[in-house]
Symmetry: C2
């Protein structure tokens, strides 16, 4: 259940209560694709760095270890030992970006596993069944994530089909939640808005999707190569048509600046692999901008990554040590960098929420939306 | 300072007090070659898994990040954030096993860095200077680790030279500890016994080394390919000539069974990369023998690695989850496996010490020396 606590302009401060706890919004979800966070970070570590909602991938977990196995192990919460809220994506994005030899029909998609080439069919019902087996708190509707750019006619056909898929998802999701052996009978369902970069399709699709009673709505298919300004324009266009009393989730976004701008446009939930991926390449966030820890100039720098940060890494380790770990190819480099960057993102959300609570979000936005885009 | 608390047969229970704390012996030292433990394990994690002494490598740290840099950062304790005892090896083993194009003279060894081929000279004085810069609690004398098998005449010449090197190490070590800007002026020096698999050379060398007043003595050059029985015979031959009031360290050994047998032969200190390396390949220790977590049969096994183990991994995660992490290529697999195996080794030493305290070491040895060698 979503509760809107306060607004400042279009920005929203709220809470989202799931079967496994309440998240304060705006929230950044920490991505653990295969039931683990890249960089040797466990569910226990997520607690320590302020994660509220963990996000795992339906497509990946279906292929390996298999959602039926996860169900047998008591569901994903039990399997990966995370007792807070989990959101699972629908598998749609991976089917369209990772898998090979796709064939899309009205029923769903046949594709080849990126692991072993095995032919697999996934449609709305299958996606719901897999997510039900995983037992996540929030299931995402199965959608087609259209590539960018794509012709208007194709996008129109596709988002009409995605709408029909949402209807089927809803029916199947309701059925699964009623079954006696369902892992998480309080699982919620979020619909996903598509429509490429065409505002009219986006709006039409959002209006139609809003008629299907979901627990929240996401904007999908953005941050896939279009200019940042286009992304903001689409959010600006769609947002007025998103139910005010439901959480809004901007999928796969983004930089700290994108997140601040998303919040300013009425978004409540975010996820992105960027902080962890950047971490693994040595790009670290500070409140004064990013730094590349591999840089020679940090070799004898005894400061923490960010002297104002209180993450477990900054409380202990120096830039010099971290740089050494990267140079020496030590796995510990990855872990420490990922912990810091995810903590930074989670803390960014704390500061956004604090600013909203105090009615000073616009001031925060003015300072940090540009500052966090720059280099230290 | 070493204090012998109790003996049972030749097995010894004692304490070793260093500048950074007191270790209970027999002790297994946890290896952090480059100032970090392989498998994304930090110095903080070492505390949690019961590590008493951390071991780092002179050769590796000299090459990268450089011992002078480490000194500038306040020494290795400060650099890697480990406040307990640290032992640094002399670099000898790596010079003779990793580096290329070696040239051995009386002065020392010229070799090519395994990283960039750069020509480097290391002799007894250089090894002492590097270890002094690192500021470890225990420095190891610079020795030649002779390959196995090696001709008698070569081993004889080599261990005569290693003895002369020990004399030079002692002089240089004393000098360095007196310098006003020494990182750790209480650094101890251990001599290393060599002599290949020739008992007469081993004994001669040990008798001579014991005349040079060191803080402890190690047996080096074993577990380099010779049969286990030969290793035990050499320890049996040398041990009577090792000073009773000084700690004895068997370098690079070994399996749980090797350690139990080493303790039974009067050894106080051990180190080995095996538990961490095995972990990274999925070979995990339990009190009923080893298991390979990658095995298909663990795919839906909800038990911890060892149901009797209270390590941070066994307290939370199932075999099924760990197997999934290995199958999915997640870095977290390495971390959890390494934490478990190092905790197992540290706990093995606790149990050995408890048995010695209770006068039941022989019973412990009878049960576990064979049991821990087997598969679950």
């Amino acid at each position: 259940m979503f509760t809107l606590l306060k607004t400042e302009g279009r920005a929203r401060r709220g809470t989202l209560t799931c079967a496994h706890g309440t998240a304060q919004t705006p929230v950044f979800m920490n991505v653990g694709t295969q039931g683990a966070i890249k960089g040797a970070v466990s569910a226990h570590d997520l607690k320590e760095i302020g994660c509220q909602i963990e996000l795992s991938n339906t497509y990946h977990l279906h292929l390996r270890p298999g959602d039926k196995l996860v169900k047998e192990m008591g569901g994903l919460h039990s399997f990966m030992r995370w007792d807070g809220p989990i959101l699972t994506d629908s598998g749609g994005f991976q089917v369209f970006s990772l898998a090979g030899l796709r064939k899309i029909k009205e029923e769903g998609v046949t594709f080849a596993s990126h692991i072993d080439g095995r032919r697999i069919f996934m449609g709305p019902e299958e996606s719901m069944q897999i997510q039900s087996n995983l037992g996540s708190d929030i299931a995402m509707a199965f959608d087609e994530c259209v590539e960018n750019p794509a012709p208007y006619d194709y996008v129109k056909q596709s988002c009409e089909r995605t709408l029909r898929w949402l209807e089927r998802c809803k029916v199947e999701h309701d059925r699964l939640n009623q079954l006696p052996d369902t892992v998480n009978p309080q699982q919620m369902l979020f619909g996903i808005n598509q429509g490429g970069t065409f505002p009219d399709l986006r709006i039409w699709h959002m209006q139609k999707a809003a008629e299907i009673p979901c627990d929240g709505y996401a904007i999908g298919g953005l941050a896939v190569g279009e200019p940042t300004e286009t992304m903001y324009e689409i959010i600006d266009a769609v947002e007025p048509y998103m139910p005010k009393d439901k959480p809004r989730y901007l999928m796969g976004v983004g930089t700290p600046s994108n997140i601040i701008e998303g919040v300013a446009r009425g978004i409540d939930m975010f996820d992105c692999v960027m902080p962890a991926r950047n971490a693994r390449h040595g790009k670290l966030y500070t409140w004064e901008g990013t730094l590349n820890i591999k840089n020679e100039k940090y070799k004898n720098d005894s400061q923490p990554i960010d002297p104002t940060c209180d993450c477990p890494v900054c409380r202990s380790f120096s830039r010099a040590y971290l740089r050494h770990l990267f140079a020496a190819g030590e796995m510990l480099a990855m872990r420490l960098a990922v912990l810091h960057n995810l903590h930074f993102y989670n803390t960014l959300m704390v500061r956004i929420r604090d600013a909203l609570d105090q009615g000073s979000f616009e001031d925060f936005r003015r300072v940090y939306s540009t500052k966090l885009s720059g280099r230290l």
